[in-house]
Symmetry: C2
Subunit: 300 residues, 2 copies
Amino acid sequence: MAASWSELMLSKLVGRCNNFFQPGSSRAMCKPFLVDGQQVGWVWPGVEKHIQRFPDVFMVEEKQVSLCPSLQTYEERTARVQEVMLRLREEGDFIALKGWRDEMYDVFHQRSSPPVFRMERTATALLGVKQYGVHVNGYVEHPQKGPLMWIGRRAKNKSTYPNKLDQVTAGGFTAGLTVQEVLVKECAEEANIPQDIALTAQPAGAISYFYEDERGLFPEIQFVFDLKLPLDFQPVNTDGEVSEFYLWDMDKVKEQIAQPDFKPNCAMVVLDFLIRHGHVHPDQEPRYLQFLENLHKTLF
Amino acid sequence: MAASWSELMLSKLVGRCNNFFQPGSSRAMCKPFLVDGQQVGWVWPGVEKHIQRFPDVFMVEEKQVSLCPSLQTYEERTARVQEVMLRLREEGDFIALKGWRDEMYDVFHQRSSPPVFRMERTATALLGVKQYGVHVNGYVEHPQKGPLMWIGRRAKNKSTYPNKLDQVTAGGFTAGLTVQEVLVKECAEEANIPQDIALTAQPAGAISYFYEDERGLFPEIQFVFDLKLPLDFQPVNTDGEVSEFYLWDMDKVKEQIAQPDFKPNCAMVVLDFLIRHGHVHPDQEPRYLQFLENLHKTLF
C-alpha cells in the first residue's frame, strides 16, 4: 500500500529536515562550539581532528570546542578562522569546502546582538553554525480558483538541490544585511519582483530545524514571509537560478511538497503556510501536532 | 528605567510560561511518567512519595514511574487512577485537587492515536500530563480603524486567573470531543457566538509551552484559531465566566499582553497572532526569534 500524504510528509520532516535529532545521528559524538563561553555551533569528530591542529585558533577540550579566548575582536576572529578554512579547503578533505562561494556569513550569539565573527558561508556546516535565511511564499487570490501559489523549479546547474521545486524566492543572509534587505534582493534576483511589491510582503514568523548530510551540520532558521502578488504578475528569473515557475492551487501544492521532487526545507515553509492559512485542519490531519513540532525545533 | 515591551514580553514567556525549562525548576528532580513504555507525563518528588503507596497502580522505579503493566485496558486504568486521585483528594495535601471539576480528561501517547486512559482534569497537573485546549482570536476588520481584536476579562469568581484578560473564547478539552466540537461549544458558552459563525474560524496552528506552579506541572498545547467576526457582532457571555469584553486595536492589544493583567498563556496566543499577521517585524523586534522559540517548545 502506498504511504499516505501524512506519512510521507512526516517522514520528510523527521527523517530528512530534522535527522540530527534522530537515533544514529552524529549528535551524541558532537561537541558544542563556543565563542566567549556561549554556544554558537556544534563540532563533529571529523572536523575536530582537523581543527585541533590549529591550537592558536581553536581550543579543543574534552566536552567542548572554543574559539581561543586570545582572539578578542570580530576582525581577529574572522581573519584567523578564515586562514584555517582556506587551509582545509586546500587540503581537500571536506565536500562542503568544495562549494566555496566567497560569501561571508555572520555568526551570532543571538541575532539581536552584534555578530562575534564572520566566515565563509559553505564552511559554516563544519562548525554547525546556525544559518539564517528568508523564504517568501508568493501567492495570488484568484477570483474563481481561490488561492494559488507560485512555485519555482531550481536550475539544473545549481550546486545544491538542482532541478528541485522551491519557493518563488528564498535566500540566505550575507553579513550585514537586514531581513528586509535580503528579501528585496532575492525578490529582484530570483523572480524579478520589483521593490515596491516586495516591500508589501508580510512577515509571518520563522521555522527552525536541524539536519546533517555529507557536507556537515545545518541548524537553520528561515524567516517566513507571505507575498500576495498581483493576478497578472509573472515571475521571471534574472540570475539563472530558477528554470521555470508554476502557478498551482493549494491541493496540488500540498500534494507536491511531500514528494522527493520538492526541496525539503522549502516544503517545510509551504507546510507552515498551509497550516497558518487553514488549509490543514487538526481534526483531519493526524500528524498536525507532529508537523508543528518539527517546524519549530529548538536548535541549541 | 522602565523595562521595554520586548523585555517584559520575553520575561513573561520565559520566566512564567516556560519556567519548567529554567534553572531552579523541579525538572531535574522529576521522573518521566510512562504508560505502555511511552512517556505521557512527569512526576515530581512531592507526588512520587504519595503515589508509591499504591504499588498496584503506579510502579515507581529509580529513573521512571509507570502505570502498572497489569492494568491493560482504558477502563481499568481509568478506574484505578481515579481511586488514587480521590484518595489523595480526601487527604487534602494537594492544592490542585481542591479545584476538582468532575471533568474527565483523556491521556494520549499521541493525540492521533486512541487515549490510554482518562482522569480528572485538575489531577493531570500531578502527573504532568499534556493538556490540550482551543483558543480563538476573535477579530474584526474595521474599514477605518483596521484590524481590531475582542478581548475578554475573566470573571472575578473564576477559580483560575480571576479578573485577568483573555481571548474572546478558549477552553480545555473534555474526553471524546474533536477540536471543532470544543471550539463550537466554547464559542457558544463564553461569547454567544452562533455555530454558523464559529464554524468559519480558521485553524492557524498550535502553541506549546511548559510551566509549573504550586498546583503542579503544566505541559500545554493550545490549538489556535482565527475567527473574523462581523463588524456589528457583540460577544455576550452566557456561562458567567467572562465579566466584560473589549474591542481594541492591535497597538493596544500588543501593549496589554506584556502586562501582568493578561493571563499568560492567552498573551502567548495573541503574540502568535501578531507574529503570524505581520504586526511584529523581525527587523524591528530584537526578541523575534526568542518569542517564536518560546511559543513552540518541545514538551517531551
